[in-house]
Amino acid sequence: MLEVVGVSTYYGQIQALKGVSLSVNDGEIVTLIGANGAGKTTLLNTICGVLAARRGDVVFDGQHVTKLPAERIVRLGISHVPERRQVFGEMSVKDNLILGAYHRYGKEKRAVIDRDLETIFELFPILKQREKQAAGTLSGGQQQMLAVGRGLMSRPRLLLLDEPSLGLAPMLVREIIRIVGELRDRGTTVLLIEQNARAALRIADRGYLIETGRIVLEGTAAELIANPIVQSAYLGKGYHHVS
């Protein structure tokens, strides 16, 4: 579904991605783990068109999207839930969700979009309760749910999630991770970025490890969990996989 081939992205003179390649297949949860500053967010921003790759290619469903701007790529079915949530703080929860479906208005029937809104409210009942409240007044966890809900309102086939657990209490992390699994079961393909490798690998099918702009390891989630490098550097000492 998604093929990233030898992508290099720069911030001015600084090279943040050094020929990164990865692929995501239909129906998978693929996770990208790595330390702060390794290039995880840069890679997602390059895929979704916020940043332009200087070299390499991004192919989505056989179509080259490397040169397309972000506002076009979302129309093709890639939705990016950005880091630090970035909800529209002064606008209501409902307006945030409606804007998530911005490009669908005029193309699809209003009733279809309204039904999707109800689905989001079923997935995140708290958002229904806070429907009219300004998004900036929600707690961190609620804002994350709103950001995910907003991303889903565009009806993506591929969802890019950037650190959904960042700054959340452990219980909320589990909740978010559970929801990511549920999304996959409903047919959405997910590329998940996490510093919390343990949580991410628990639900992922496959994973990649990125270090200083390069993919250094790839494999199934089970392989990565069993890998000594991953264990010592990303899962913490004394980690045991409990199946």
Partner: protein, 295 residues
């Protein structure tokens, strides 16, 4: 009684002036919120609105049609300005873009001079010149048009930004451009739209004020400065702020001109600007920030 009547008269004049400044200030913040550009050609939109309406009226077009026609033409000119002068400079710094608007302002004023010459023009009042007595003050009917236009504009903007998808998209773009792009909202389209909207607002101000003042090709500069001051006083991002700022400047200017000396009329707005910048640098309505919740 005499003094009270005088003050009431100045207040009426001030509210009328303030309505115009408020409309111009709204034009400034509409573009600024979406693009970060301070559009120094804002006053030229007012001039175009007034002079195009006058030209249409002189060619036997009914006043209502001249009003609507002028606002539409000016709106298109605003859109064209964004496409011709701003968009090609994509990627340039905001300062560069602001300087471009200064250039655009001078260019439009020059074209205005070529088209209409240096002579002042006037438009007849929309509903007669017979002043209406109000508690000892005389109100010319056009004042109601000016004030009414401001109310309609405010109501229209509120409805647009709160209730329409396009309005919400414009706001989203103003709050967070990169997140807005992830929703499929094109910043370039929103910038185009904000220029068109601002031009339309300026033109409305120009047409309704045309019967009260003489319209000339260079009328825009001072009006733009006053509207700019009003916008800054209001915090430069807030709609209510721009309106309050507009009325504040209008009323103080009118009071100052009447009670102190009419020679200071134009200086008063700038004294207010200095006071606001010294005492409350974010403006009366500025500096509002909503939390990110947990981060």
């Amino acid at each position: 009684m005499e003094f009270y009547q005088q003050v009431l008269q100045y207040l009426v004049t001030g509210v009328t002036l303030g309505s115009i400044y408020a409309i111009i200030a709204l034009g400034f913040i509409t573009i600024y919120n979406v693009t970060g550009i301070v559009n120094f050609a804002q006053g030229e939109f007012v001039m175009l609105g007034a002079l195009i309406a006058i030209s249409l009226y002189k060619n036997q077009v009914p006043i209502v049609v001249a009003f609507v026609g002028s606002v539409m033409v000016t709106t298109l000119i605003g859109a064209a300005l964004q496409r011709i002068a701003i968009r090609p400079a994509k990627g340039a710094s905001t300062l560069t873009l602001i300087i471009i608007t200064i250039g655009a302002s001078i260019t439009i004023r020059g074209l205005g001079l070529i088209t209409w010459g240096p002579d002042p023009y006037s438009l007849p009042a929309f509903s007669g010149d017979q002043p209406i007595a109000f508690g000892g003050a005389a109100i010319i009917p056009q004042s109601f048009w000016v004030f009414g236009a401001t109310i309609v504009v405010l109501g229209g903007l509120y409805a647009f930004f709160e209730w329409t998808l396009l309005g919400k998209a414009v706001r989203a773009c103003a709050i967070n451009v990169s997140a807005a792009r992830l929703m499929g909202i094109s910043p370039s389209s929103m910038a185009l739209f904000s220029f068109a909207l601002s031009a339309g607002l300026g033109a409305i101000g120009g047409v309704v004020m045309a019967p009260m003042t003489l319209a000339t090709y260079d009328m825009g500069s001072m009006l733009a400065l006053k509207g700019f001051v009003a916008a800054i006083v209001g915090g430069f991002t807030s709609t209510p702020g721009a309106v309050v700022g507009g009325f504040l400047i209008g009323i103080l200017e009118s009071m100052g001109a009447g009670l102190i000396s009419s020679g200071y009329k134009d200086a008063i707005a700038f004294v207010v600007l200095f006071l606001v910048l010294f005492l409350k640098p974010n403006g009366l309505f500025g500096g509002r920030d909503t939390g990110r919740g947990g981060l």
